[in-house]
Symmetry: C2
Subunit: 185 residues, 2 copies
């Protein structure tokens, strides 16, 4: 239990004690659900999202085929986009970012599958929604170069002041990005 | 002392005790400096920045006259831009944002002076660097409308993912802004 992210040894002990005390109402149902999830949930063969079938609900929906594919780093980011209800196309989960230090190279990311999908799903635009971190942006540039010659528009999320952001609390890099990509009113 | 922002009664007591104990090395020099600041520091007659003369160092510097004026809400935001070293033009401090609830109307902001400066300083672009809050953006739209017909380009800071930002931690509004103003790679 202590090996779960966000749980230290102390909170793991508390959680375990809590579960053991509520053996019938919490421990057994949780174990049953975990067993079920372990049996049924796998990766969507198309996009890499979690799914109970071969293909996830988003890839299976004809409504989501609008010619746009949003490339994200992992499933957590896909969920973040879905929570925000801002994107109506399909996703593609890369499965990580390039990171020489962690020995993650291009062959560990699902880039060939992305190239296949571009022709198979009549994609017109690939939106690289990778984190605004060094690894994320390096990966974005790599993917953008890999997609050269496929004829799709490759775009990236805008960088700038987050909604509700106050200048006094922003770092210099964000202010620089916000100023350099300022938009006419 | 407890009326200073960020100091509660408890930390005010601690600060006062500390000062009284270090009467000669801290209390007296601080009192002297405060008296001096109270006597010499005022608002720049041109932009509203703090200054020890009639005109602040930025307005006095010919190097900073590059045809751009960056409109900020208050001096703290001006300092934030200067800390980030991203802007090479001059500033204009509005002195607040429109806020009907707090009874702050257009007449409380330094908009006429901004209009005067546009012709006097051969300004070509006004960059509205107001906070990405509701009040800030309302004010930005008001100022932009007030500047119609002056012939200057009016722009605003880009909204989007802050530098280093991870999708999973961003609010929906920011993701929406970042997606809708996405840029070609």
């Amino acid at each position: 239990m202590a090996r779960l992210p966000g749980l230290g040894p102390r909170s793991a002990r508390r959680a375990v004690l809590h579960l053991v005390k509520k053996r019938d109402t919490q421990l057994r149902p949780l174990a049953r659900l975990m067993e079920e999830v372990g049996r049924t949930v796998r990766s969507c063969l198309n996009c890499g999202n979690l799914s109970t079938g071969d293909v996830c609900a988003i890839c299976a929906s004809a409504k989501r085929q609008n010619g746009q594919i949003c490339v994200v780093e992992d499933v957590a980011d896909l969920w973040a986009m879905e929570r925000a209800q801002v994107f109506e196309g399909r996703y593609h989960v890369l499965g990580g970012t390039l990171s020489p230090l962690d020995d993650i190279g291009p062959e560990d990311l699902h880039i060939p599958k992305l190239r296949d999908r571009i022709s198979a799903e009549e994609v017109t635009e690939v939106i690289l929604a990778l984190n605004a971190t060094v690894d994320g942006q390096t990966t974005a540039h790599y993917v953008a170069r890999e997609l050269e010659g496929t004829g799709v528009i490759v775009s990236g999320l805008a960088q700038g002041v987050p909604v509700g952001g106050e200048l006094d609390y922003l770092d210099g890099g964000t202010l620089r990005a916000a100023l350099s990509s300022r938009k006419a009113f």
